[in-house]
């Protein structure tokens, strides 16, 4: 049985940052979605950036190079959330 791919969910301090991240990732044709910030783990309004963990090595360098650092990052596997180390 194949191992499930977890979601990585990045919460940014401002809406502008997440929309700049959207522009950047779209320009590079990288796979991601915008989702409501999961209230299970974060009280912020608005949107979060979500991508499959298997894509992290393609996506993270792009965000870091543009200084688009999230204020919080989570890993979701099924219904379970855990903190995720953005820098690793």
């Amino acid at each position: 049985m194949a191992e499930l791919d977890a979601d990585i969910i990045l919460v940014f301090s401002s809406n502008t940052k997440i929309l700049n991240a959207e522009d950047l990732l779209e320009d590079k044709n990288l796979p991601f979605t915008l989702v409501p910030v999961p209230k299970e783990v974060n009280p912020n309004c608005g949107l979060a950036l979500c991508f499959m963990e298997s894509q992290k090595d393609r996506i993270m360098p792009v965000l870091i190079a543009a200084d688009l650092v999230p204020s919080a990052a989570y890993r979701r596997l099924g219904p379970e959330f855990s903190s995720w180390d953005f820098w690793r």
Partner: protein, 383 residues
């Protein structure tokens, strides 16, 4: 109607602006507040406006661009947010609008701000060296109206910034954003205030402020931001820190469309067209008996498309009324919210009659206005 009051509010707006506002009005708009699709669409509208303005000014970081209801708010956010203290020295030009002059006058009265005014030269232009020689160790800020809304004089903003070095420059670009090429301003400008409803071709109720890295402005209003909702402390990061409350999504949709229109046409082409009309108009009114041009005359290039005149025997309001009634020409009379300028130009308190051209005016509009002025001058009206 011949509309020559573009320095107040541009008209007409491009069809793209009307379409963008209408489409925005047909959808829910809660930018940055919810996670549903309409909220995301609203967020993208505002983000589109931010990106368009960033391209217009060549801004390196669009998150340091904040939207406001108008440029008066932008300038007040800057002037009140910088933390001016008693005894601080601030330089401004004599051609300031009340949107900067009144806040500075209030600081002068309330905290003994040392506000020094730099006048124009005999050619009606502001000079960089006149700011440089007045700098002191306690000079906290230079405030500059990029172009006068009375005389049309265009100030050498970059030369002034070079002359004042590290002293911050607050640039009032009300009359220049969209009318004068500013694509490199993001490389050197400290604070740029602009409004959406003039040469940017957007609707009223839109404006903004660019804040260079390194400048921290204390918000004059705090509240809902859609970010850090768990905290009673207002966000300290831009743009959220200076954008409390739900943004004017509908207006910013129109502003984005207006700026995109300008970027497509090219601001250099807009300026070329407006200057052709202005120079033609100046050359064809300068010899009208009894008429005085208040500002740079024919052939002077350091100006924008705003021409104020005084006509012997006519009050500024009577002249404006006669132009509207007899010729269908809309202009603005009076002091133009710029009493300082009129004092320096010798036209206080009666003011002047101001003609201001926009991108959609034609040479025929300028011809009709010049002919009307000539006829009214001959009519011998006495105020």
């Amino acid at each position: 109607m011949i509309y020559l009051d573009n320095a107040a509010t541009s008209f007409p707006k491009p069809p793209e602006v009307i379409k963008a506002i209408t489409e925005a009005l047909l959808a829910p708009a809660s930018p940055g507040r919810s996670g549903h699709a309409p909220a995301l669409k609203a967020s993208r509208i505002i983000h589109g406006a931010r990106k368009a303005i960033a391209r217009l000014f060549g801004l390196p970081d669009n998150s340091r661009l904040v939207f406001t209801p108008n440029i008066t708010w932008s300038l007040n956010i800057a002037l009140n947010g910088l933390g001016l203290k008693p005894g601080d020295h601030v330089l401004s030009s004599a051609l300031e609008h009340n949107s900067t002059a009144r806040p500075l006058a209030r600081f002068q009265k309330e905290i003994c701000l040392d506000w020094e005014i730099v006048g124009p030269g005999p050619d009606h232009l502001i000079r960089a060296e006149d700011f440089k020689v007045r700098l002191r160790p306690e000079t906290r800020l230079v405030v500059l109206n990029h172009a006068s809304n009375v005389t049309g004089s265009l100030a050498p903003a970059k030369a002034i910034k070079e002359a004042i070095g590290s002293t911050p420059l607050l640039l009032d670009a009300a009359q220049t954003a969209g009318a004068v090429p500013m694509a490199d301003y993001g490389q050197w400008a400290d604070l740029i205030a602009f409004t959406g409803h003039k040469a940017l071709l957007g609707p009223t109720g839109t404006g903004g402020l660019w804040i260079k890295e390194g400048f921290e402005l204390r918000p004059i209003a705090v509240g809902g931001s859609g970010s850090r909702s768990e905290s009673l402390v207002h966000p300290d990061f831009l743009p959220d820190s200076l954008e409390p409350g739900t943004a004017n999504t509908h207006g910013l949709a129109g502003l984005a469309a207006g700026v995109e229109f300008l970027l497509k046409v090219g601001v250099d082409k807009v300026r070329q067209h407006e200057m052709e009309l202005t120079q033609w108009f100046l050359a064809n009114i300068v010899d009208i008996p009894g008429l005085t041009i208040i500002g740079p005359g024919p052939g002077q290039e350091s100006r924008v498309a705003t021409v104020s005149v005084v006509l012997d025997g006519w009050s500024s309001s009577d002249l404006a009324g006669a132009l509207e009634k007899g010729y269908g020409i809309m202009i603005r009379s009076g002091l133009h919210c710029a009493p300082l300028t009129h004092q320096f130009m010798g036209t206080f308190p009666g003011g002047a009659s101001r003609f201001s051209f926009g991108y959609f005016n034609t040479l025929e509009d300028a011809r009709t206005a010049a002919q009307a002025l000539s006829e009214l001058a001959q009519s011998g009206h006495k105020a």
